[in-house]
Symmetry: C2
Subunit: 274 residues, 2 copies
């Protein structure tokens, strides 16, 4: 069952209106979260990011965090996800509008929440990455928001898969590393520094990205947000990807994995922190 | 009534699936067309653009132009739009997929077609325009495709309306004029040349844009696709916007209109050509 605008129902009983601006114009936002045996990790952080982006777009948020928590609990229970890991997606749109770009004066937003089992086998232990031609526009005011406009990322992923990789690394308009198509990217340089692209370089402010930066500080691993070139990445000692579902996933330009001690340490502590 | 995946039904009987990639990821395309008393202008051109973009995105098109024509005829008739002007929108998505960015191997695309009366009063005689801060990324491989990713254009429109204008003009990453938020832009310079931004500068290859370029040639008005700076636009003798619905709409940075002889001539001939 899924949640749609106030009700929990089977997917086939949900009708998204053909005039919904999320469907017609990508006028909305989303969050992807991971549930660990019934508990969603960093729910408040996801909620705060959604709220902040919704404020920016002037989309009202018709739920409180407490209400969302109740809905998630019910959804996980009804989908038998209290004893296994789950992938959750919350989609917020500006709702139905009349023809054209201009938003309705008093939008009635739509909210979709889905939860499904997360199979451990879905992600490769080491992601093969490649740098694709598609540039992320770090100058867009939307670059720091998780909007529904994901077609460029889809194109990037398609290009990577065609090149025999699992995931695409996108550069920004100046040729600096921005992020992967569905994840933030980190590397460890030959001085042992853990580095990840700056938000100004087009990195989405990922929730897992922030957790990893906090964990590194806690562990005494020197870490920084810093501009990275493709050359920095290719010469890195370790590379890993982060998002709420894959957590910390080792990555390599090579098809064979290599020893990544800092990545392994962070992976272990990330799971312990839950 | 509206058309959705093979059937013509009332909008409330249409269920867009919550897993449709158009809704979740803006993974799709659209066309906006104008019906003139039952006849859609430039239908074949709209179809060709959609087909070409669908090929680029690897979304199969489950209809032929002949089938689409039949559906449009039925839709216009059932909505009593054979004797008045109509606004039509065709939306194509990659359909339902499983979680994540990677497209399904054998997508079953979704098609939505809506038609509604077009009120003559909806567009101002002269659009007040202003240049907004949001840049159009002309380097994106999607810049020349009419995709569902329209949130930047919505932001641009919102910014223009807040500034007291009707429509936003977007610059590209190099500060050259790209297009308006929902229209192409033309101007007439002091030598009498009709100019419009190049596709390489971020102008969507609009159907009406091409018709106007053809009409200018036919009328002996010197015309060219050419890079334009904000200064070119501010100093222009005439400015107008084009799309399938507004046709040729005079535009001005000022709140009062001014005499625009070439715009007026093109407006007249555009209507005659129908």
């Amino acid at each position: 069952v899924i949640y749609w605008n106030g009700k929990i129902r089977p997917p086939e009983a949900v009708n998204i209106a053909p005039g919904d601006r999320g469907f017609l114009l990508a006028d909305g936002l989303f969050e992807t979260m991971r549930g660990y045996r019934g508990r969603v990790f960093c729910l408040a952080q996801h909620w705060n990011r959604l709220k902040s982006s919704a404020d920016f777009l002037e989309i009202p948020l018709p739920l409180s965090l407490a209400e969302l928590t109740g809905i998630i609990d019910e959804l996980l229970e009804k989908n038998h996800l209290l004893t296994q890991d789950a992938s959750l997606r919350l989609t917020l749109t500006r709702g139905v509008g009349s023809r054209g770009l201009s938003p309705p004066a008093d939008p009635i937003p739509s909210i979709l929440l889905t939860a499904q089992p997360l199979s451990a086998a879905s992600a490769p232990a080491v992601a093969r990455i490649c740098i694709v031609d598609i540039r992320r526009n770090e100058l867009s005011p939307l670059a720091c928001h998780k909007t529904l406009s994901y077609l460029e990322n889809i194109l990037a992923r398609q290009a990577a898969v065609k090149a025999g990789a699992d995931e695409a690394v996108l550069l920004n308009s100046r040729g600096l590393i921005a992020e992967a198509s569905a994840a933030n990217i980190f590397c460890v340089n030959d001085q042992g520094w853990l580095l990840t692209p700056r938000r100004e370089d087009g990195a989405l402010p990922g929730i897992t990205r922030q957790v990893v930066l906090d964990l590194a500080k806690h562990l005494g691993i020197p870490a920084a947000e810093q501009s990275l070139t493709p050359s920095d990445l290719v010469q890195a000692q370790e590379i890993f990807l982060t998002n709420s579902l894959i957590e910390i996933q080792p990555a390599s330009f090579l098809t064979d994995g290599k020893c990544m001690p800092i990545t392994a340490q962070l992976q272990t502590v990330y799971r312990q922190r839950l």
